[in-house]
Chain length 378, copies 2
Amino acid sequence: MKISLKAIPPSGFSGNGIACGLKRSGDADLALLYSDAPAIARAKFTTGSIIAAPLTVSKKHLKLSKTFRALLVNSGNANCFTGKAGIRDAEESARCLGWQLSIPASSVLVNSTGIIGKRLDIAKIKKGIPGLVSGLSGSGIHKAAKAMMTTDTFAKEISVSLKIGGKTVNLCAVAKGAGMIAPNMATMLCFILTDANICGQALEKALAEAVEISFNCISVDGCMSTNDTVLVLANGRAGNKIIASGKALGDFSKALKLVCLELSKMIVMDAEGATKFIRIDVCRAKNFCEARRAALNIANSALFKTAVFGENPNFGRVVAAVGASGLGVREDQLKIHLGSLKGRQVRLKVSLSGGDACATVYTSDLTPGYIKINAEYN
Amino acid sequence: MKISLKAIPPSGFSGNGIACGLKRSGDADLALLYSDAPAIARAKFTTGSIIAAPLTVSKKHLKLSKTFRALLVNSGNANCFTGKAGIRDAEESARCLGWQLSIPASSVLVNSTGIIGKRLDIAKIKKGIPGLVSGLSGSGIHKAAKAMMTTDTFAKEISVSLKIGGKTVNLCAVAKGAGMIAPNMATMLCFILTDANICGQALEKALAEAVEISFNCISVDGCMSTNDTVLVLANGRAGNKIIASGKALGDFSKALKLVCLELSKMIVMDAEGATKFIRIDVCRAKNFCEARRAALNIANSALFKTAVFGENPNFGRVVAAVGASGLGVREDQLKIHLGSLKGRQVRLKVSLSGGDACATVYTSDLTPGYIKINAEYN
């Protein structure tokens, strides 16, 4: 398996990112990812009950169509809590892009990220679309990643290639996210492009497994968002024999997990205001879900996070967080090892003495920087 | 009903607070509340699975004995995650106080608050007990309240008197708490003294109802603690006809609710680093529990709390928190009214359009001050 931290386009994929004026800063805010061949798609969305308008539209398109060609994403505005007008805006952006690309609107998937509750300026998006399309290129996937950023300080991208059945299969993924990050789905956007030839069922299984141990295992602030999306497009251009099960699916799944896990970790690395990257390993739990629950309860403890920020080895806060996790862990079952708090990387190991399962969760510290960013963000 | 924000001792109750050397600052750290007549007791403790040693000992005493005479509380050390040695320390403190007061150890209830995971210096407590006992006085209840404080900036006390069956019944309560505050039980200590003559069952019912709408409706940081306790002692010295049901219980319950609610609000007022006192009213929910869940999900959102700190009316974060609360609230059912963010008092009203139930939750903003306090606390 070859891994690169740059966005290397799989066969048939291109991208672009431009500034269409949604952000007052003038930074790039409109992103396009494009496949020149029809691609199947599978996605995981936020499990919150209030979801953004573009997710409603994308879910409808995922039901209507079997294959997809384009992903349109804007930053600077989440197009959420915008009612029927928000749905119409999302639909109009898909229609306008479809027209420009000469593809059906239903083969366009859309997403948005930014402030919640403000109407999207659809005129700016429509005005930006022709230039967005005309500038499509292989190297433009990096531009697309940059145009999705909100409070992110760097674009998150990764590429992996591996041999499946003698053919080279490529995956390339971009993500955004730095705050409002909590599992189910982790609060962020991630788009994975692959030229693998894979059946829908196998893709769905691989995606579900990868998300479970990656985006659902990170937390910055315990806040789930309205726009969370992980979406994979597979256009089959690698020409491999269709992946359905067995070793081929195992290899593909492994690559997909790597991609998702590395992007998850980048999001935590870029957590708003963070000075620490914290890895929490919980072992000897009854099952993976219980291990993850204990780990996330620690990860979401404001007291644990501030202690790490202060390089203050107050492991009692880990005890309190595990005790409050609802798992019934008793004091005599609990072992805690908190590594050095100096330096950027911090590691916490917790043993529950109740079984054989483990989970690893990544999180950040809670700092005055986080507060400054979120007190001022609008 | 007469209300005072000072600790006025009900008949037969006295208190004291001294510095026995547990706190490096030299501040008072050992508190005693005492009844000269046997008092029945009822309590609510943290629902976390890891509880502090003194809670284990107090729970045992509550099973062993029918009446109680004394409450011993230290601050500066939570005596939690201290294993069997911690239990022995808590037992020894009860035994030593019982000996000094010439009462059985099992009529002493104990509690601790402070750092988790460090052995209690029981020698200091034992050395302090004689002076603690000899200094007991009616006005000493205020001293006891001060000696329970950790990061609190003021002592929390309230007194209420009312007529029940022609007799004056008095309640006086003290509480501590400023951080690690989240429901089930709210993370704090509260001790309520009353001279009411009331049967155990009625006291239990009144306490459960009062806690539900007070300490279980506040949150500072979403962190449940290992030492949470609300405990009421009733010594019957008011000489009223025993309260068991009907109007007498109704009146007593109302007074107890007022006491618990006012102390809860004082805890939020004193929240670590807070600059805002936020009242969240959720109405039109299916039932009280759902209304409270929505309100607490908002109250525990780091993004909402930082927005209020920044006086940034980002109501989209309220939308996201309600959507993530697991109640299935739809966008078109949700109405939000966020009052002015200038000034110390902030009010948020949320309507869910799903029923007739309401809940009110109190919380604070999340500030650099909170982080400073908790990055340094040890």
